[in-house]
Symmetry: D2
Subunit: 463 residues, 4 copies
Amino acid sequence: MDPKKGKKTPAAAKKAPPAPNGDCMQITAKDTLVQTLGEPKIPSPVKRAGGTRFVSDAGRILLESDAGKITAQIQQGMEVVSFEKAGPRANVFFDPSKLRCAIVTCGGLCPGLNDIIRAVVMELWWGYGVRSIYGIRYGLAGFIPKYGYDLVDLDPHYVAEIHQMGGTMLGSSRGPQDIDEIVDCLERLNIGILFTVGGDGTLMAATKICDTIKKRRLKIAVIGVPKTIDNDIYLVERSFGFDTAVEMATHAIRSAHIEAIGYPNGIGLVKLMGRHSGFIAANATLAQQDVNFALIPEIDFDLIGQKGFLSRMKERLAQRGHAVVVVAEGAGQKFFGREKDERDPSGNVRLHDIGAYLKQEIVSYFTGQGTEVSLKYIDPSYMIRSLPANANDNVFCSALARNAVHAGMAGKTRTLVGYWRNQFVHVPMDASAGRRKSCEPASELWQSVLEATGQGDMVNGRD
Amino acid sequence: MDPKKGKKTPAAAKKAPPAPNGDCMQITAKDTLVQTLGEPKIPSPVKRAGGTRFVSDAGRILLESDAGKITAQIQQGMEVVSFEKAGPRANVFFDPSKLRCAIVTCGGLCPGLNDIIRAVVMELWWGYGVRSIYGIRYGLAGFIPKYGYDLVDLDPHYVAEIHQMGGTMLGSSRGPQDIDEIVDCLERLNIGILFTVGGDGTLMAATKICDTIKKRRLKIAVIGVPKTIDNDIYLVERSFGFDTAVEMATHAIRSAHIEAIGYPNGIGLVKLMGRHSGFIAANATLAQQDVNFALIPEIDFDLIGQKGFLSRMKERLAQRGHAVVVVAEGAGQKFFGREKDERDPSGNVRLHDIGAYLKQEIVSYFTGQGTEVSLKYIDPSYMIRSLPANANDNVFCSALARNAVHAGMAGKTRTLVGYWRNQFVHVPMDASAGRRKSCEPASELWQSVLEATGQGDMVNGRD
Amino acid sequence: MDPKKGKKTPAAAKKAPPAPNGDCMQITAKDTLVQTLGEPKIPSPVKRAGGTRFVSDAGRILLESDAGKITAQIQQGMEVVSFEKAGPRANVFFDPSKLRCAIVTCGGLCPGLNDIIRAVVMELWWGYGVRSIYGIRYGLAGFIPKYGYDLVDLDPHYVAEIHQMGGTMLGSSRGPQDIDEIVDCLERLNIGILFTVGGDGTLMAATKICDTIKKRRLKIAVIGVPKTIDNDIYLVERSFGFDTAVEMATHAIRSAHIEAIGYPNGIGLVKLMGRHSGFIAANATLAQQDVNFALIPEIDFDLIGQKGFLSRMKERLAQRGHAVVVVAEGAGQKFFGREKDERDPSGNVRLHDIGAYLKQEIVSYFTGQGTEVSLKYIDPSYMIRSLPANANDNVFCSALARNAVHAGMAGKTRTLVGYWRNQFVHVPMDASAGRRKSCEPASELWQSVLEATGQGDMVNGRD
Amino acid sequence: MDPKKGKKTPAAAKKAPPAPNGDCMQITAKDTLVQTLGEPKIPSPVKRAGGTRFVSDAGRILLESDAGKITAQIQQGMEVVSFEKAGPRANVFFDPSKLRCAIVTCGGLCPGLNDIIRAVVMELWWGYGVRSIYGIRYGLAGFIPKYGYDLVDLDPHYVAEIHQMGGTMLGSSRGPQDIDEIVDCLERLNIGILFTVGGDGTLMAATKICDTIKKRRLKIAVIGVPKTIDNDIYLVERSFGFDTAVEMATHAIRSAHIEAIGYPNGIGLVKLMGRHSGFIAANATLAQQDVNFALIPEIDFDLIGQKGFLSRMKERLAQRGHAVVVVAEGAGQKFFGREKDERDPSGNVRLHDIGAYLKQEIVSYFTGQGTEVSLKYIDPSYMIRSLPANANDNVFCSALARNAVHAGMAGKTRTLVGYWRNQFVHVPMDASAGRRKSCEPASELWQSVLEATGQGDMVNGRD
């Protein structure tokens, strides 16, 4: 993989190949090859009714679903791109009776983290008979001796009810840690499988951990469980917690609508999560059809000028007397000077606060026009992130985590568990790390948002 | 289509080809051909950003996703089975300014019906400029003069807030009506597109309506929006309302669990929807991990005998002191004599009440053993059916309905809007009617339920 | 107290003095005298800001709030009836460092039981420094050796999160147990204060336990925490869990309404809790204004005849096409023969199932009239009982439990903690046991229900 | 009443007599006299079962409930203070067939506004037969011609479902309007009863409207429905929407707790409503027992110094690693210079943003100490205000509104409908306007908060 891809500057993000949800992703067959620690020779202790439902490494899921394109490729003798199917293998690489596993949760909270932890523990314990499972506290920092965090000994009793609660019972943290110290810790604890639950930064760290493991010739599998409440992980159709987030986001939008219609020239402004991808904003807009303007990172918009957002808002208020605006946190970054780029502990560019900025710009604009507006600004992000997963995400998280366990037990490594065409698959970390999905202007999703809001194009000077 | 398929006797259901979710469905390429009323020649008034995102009839989605199987088929020169993609076409068949449309909702309530009605109206009105949209009251009965139900004139204002409410604002009813009278009514009203929202019975009726339309040489499109809270429509990966139903079902299971642990030998028994397919029961079991026994129509079980449910329950109580049972309404019908088969107004075999039966059998069994149990029986079905759709179902319903409108406007007919590999597709009604999806014993879904409950096989005399 | 009062036959209930919520209860000043184990001499360890807010035994709350009546009584030299205020006393009777306490939860589940347990433990531990707190498992049965239930050692860590969960973490059971065995157990465990959380049956048992304690000349305080989801405890203005129950009941009513309007002649029938008092049904009717008929135990109604319920239903359907009925479980018992009176383990008369009866009678009636109705019957009782308390009940439960602890520490006994005029008070058990509050026909509550439903009087032959 | 009281400067607020909830309020018998427009001579059309439940003006509810104090007062021949009971009178002042009524909602949103509007309309229409009911749009501004807002014609159909929605369907606005123009409008519309729903500012305006009405010798009744989500209206035990607000506030606190325990040195900071009174913060703290520091306007606290908040926070983090802070919006105003006092359109002092201030101070403090903390700030205010009322508030709002109608029909004026000792009463506007309830340090409520949080006194240099 091109290491520059990992830098995650907005510029790089812009140049990244378009990757609308459900459309073709830009990878080759070679990118989909999954690494293993060695040949799995131990018969799996997993009991399947009839014993015949183990999944073979030969099972593969097509990347694309377009019949014409696939047919043409095959007829031309091209290799079609596909992912290895996830699932329990007939043989496993590790001896469960001796295996020690670790799980770590990193980065921002997301509904479902505890479901992941719970299901990893349950599957290791009941499915494979593994009895040594360690929870690493507070993200990658938990590996580093200087912080002095204790391990958590995990077993089914300990995790039985944690899915009722939001957040992560292990704790989390942001930011990189020394890779050698992390691998030292894995060696010290004699870990066989490490499960990392995190976003793109964690994925990057996981690949480096794999590099060091390889250098040291260790037999440690690293399995990634992709976490992004924004649902923007590349080659992953769905990420856990997203559905719960959209559900709660609609409550915030409803509140904004109620406030907006409650006052003359009432404006409800809701900032939602979405650093680089507007999936939450777009889906919440469709779910709660009260939104008049949806602003997301992928879609350019001007503030001033004839087609600009403020003129459109003025028209809307003149016609209907109220308006609701949803803005993803990464939208409109062009309005801020680039020179001041800061980065957060995870290495992400620190975004400028588009919510506060819009609030101020809207009020100034209308004040300047002699129009009094009543703007109410709602930022529900922390109330969303900290929710327990809803039923849908519960089911998804459990299946995701079980497949992560199956992958690790089979000796897969440097692999994340993805979801493609409604099936769990193995995606090499390198194929996903440093890239992301985005909401394309031409996608059904965005076209539907345009229909639902009636907001039109808000860039001056283009047609 | 084989007319016998439509009889839906349990026997027929059993013989139907296996159709686990995500696995191959048993149809041929010919079955997927979509009928049209004629060539669409009128440029679509739908505005798309860039104008380039209209979907062509040539766009097709593969039925299967297995890379190996598809590659082999194509290399052998076989025609791979695929569905026509749904979406807005560049040309439409009907002149929107003259078109009159009707929508009818049939059968049992299901979360999302009002979202469907709302989005059909919104898309017809705003997307295509159609101004005559009639709501038919109380299902197919609304077409029949003798009942005297008025039409409802639908417009955006009328439907703006109906998605906040459960049920169907048009009303519904069960049972067949005279097909000629229905088509008489369509003629009388000069309807161009009829949208039928309903389950398998409605699908059967819709095909007969199409037959009569054809016989009379009318140009009326009939578009089906598949409705089944049980999520068991054949060739349809997901049906609306199901997600909302599972969410609410978990509350009932939680209650059953709380009651069960609250008393010595406490048993919580929850009956959930699922006449022929246990998808709700299975998913709710996975979402709320308190269930010890999940009983569904597709999976045989005995009550008595060494491996029977009651012995297992006895073991469970001895070990843990409480138990939670989830039973789908169509499970265990073998315990009732077949001679008394009754049918409901929709022609479905009237199911025997397995919930009440189990309640009585469990109490009798333990009383006979001298053990006092505290059994609490919960039937949340009507509280589930009548909910408004959650955010996820909202988004899904709106997209489903918009695609139904696109299909109708393009002159497609005898077609339902399906969902396959996360994309909306056109499915000929005849390919789906009279068959159903079921939860296969060997599927990941059921295997996960077995893991989550630990219930094992409950049929005596097999290994 | 007249021991016959305790028999709780419906007949006795009818003869009981009228006791509408907020109106005068029929007791004398003597009935309000609280018993104590002896003079409290140990300075309370409870820290109060400023140290001055201890409550004195002399603080008393008037039973009545009517200015004219109170003034007249005092001017005539009569003693006005009042209750002793609850709250922390400056001196306590028990030495906290040596004290051992027990808590037991009895009867049906009710939202807030875990809040009570939690707050009793928290106040004993942090407020008074008591370190020996035992949870009795499964109600009064937990005292009886033959069942073999273990005690639970309670401390703040153990109970910290239990209020997030419905039910009772100690378990419960119905029915009486041998009083001597209970007191034997209290002696064996060297208990100083017993907290009993339960309804009228538990109250009766508690008075008998007090009798035996007295006979044996023990120094054991028995403090009752009144529990009745029906809100019908005599001399107690509000009981915990009631508010949560009403909230959830409204969801069931909403479902019934949605089902009713969804079909021709749709009828939604909801059975709610309320053995002898219709407070839940009445309040839920007012909270969710979709109810057309509310049937409660206190208000007589006929089924047939010109003014009977069925005729009224017929009129309603003729006019509006749908109807919603709420029936409390104890309503309409006159329709069942008296000869078959059975009693449940708690000694309550086993009520006949008015919900199932009404369902059948309504359908028969309309079938007989040649009218097809679509009746949907909802019984949400177990889904209500098992809920965690809402915020309002949380706050109430905590305060109630803290006051129970204060009462016990001060050496009060044979006392329950009541709530009167928004203040916590001490009510002698004998003043309340065997009687109950009821919803009077002339009360504002019932008059409001009549206004909200428009149901009118449904008894033939009276005007 | 001292007109200076109305100025509502914080200084004045501080000097106001202490008025803890449930304790004695500082008024005399004279202050409780209710004004009427004249003798009600028209027999009420309200139908009561039995016809005997009309409430007489002679019915009065004691202000105090303390038995000893009341007895002493009466024995000494003092007049005890009491409120006139609310409720339907046997005779009404207005002829319903000719009466025209208006209702206006003012100030900030609050759960239950639509329930109030709905119940006023329902009671006027069905209870009294009034057929002319006007909704004034956007608060007092709706009376003023220059804004050009239309009236809304209200009837039962129009308001039937509005209680399902938050906010006010009439709209609201802040700030005073010209009193003469308002009364001009009332004259023009020939209004007999004006219902004003609003807080203290609205109460002040209502008294001025009454002054002008009197000056012009008009027969217009003005009835106030007290609205304050903060629950701080003087002489009103409970205000609508408060219960709903506390419920939702607990969700924000739960989120803050989950975020706090999710990171090393995690701090969750929640700003809640409460300009002058900390009732929401205090009750939410008790309802969701995760709060470690509750900061409210009534209770002084220092930031720095040995006993200051920041030192306490440091101790807490050292011991437990995380903390949750709840701050009412009016707390800690002493940290801001007084010179910049601004006022909002309603004339309230514009509060400085204590939430943002605390956030910054906490982070600075710990950064200065070399400790990295993870602070998450949540402001759920607009998501709370805009909720529909919960069941409890639904019932309360309906009763409150019905009593407002009864009061107006009987010719009461300059009167608000209060709630005292669980009964609705008439409170002269002048007795309440310009004063407020507050959460007293010595009250059970605050003492309970201190127990629940363990926060102690946070003012340096006092003991």
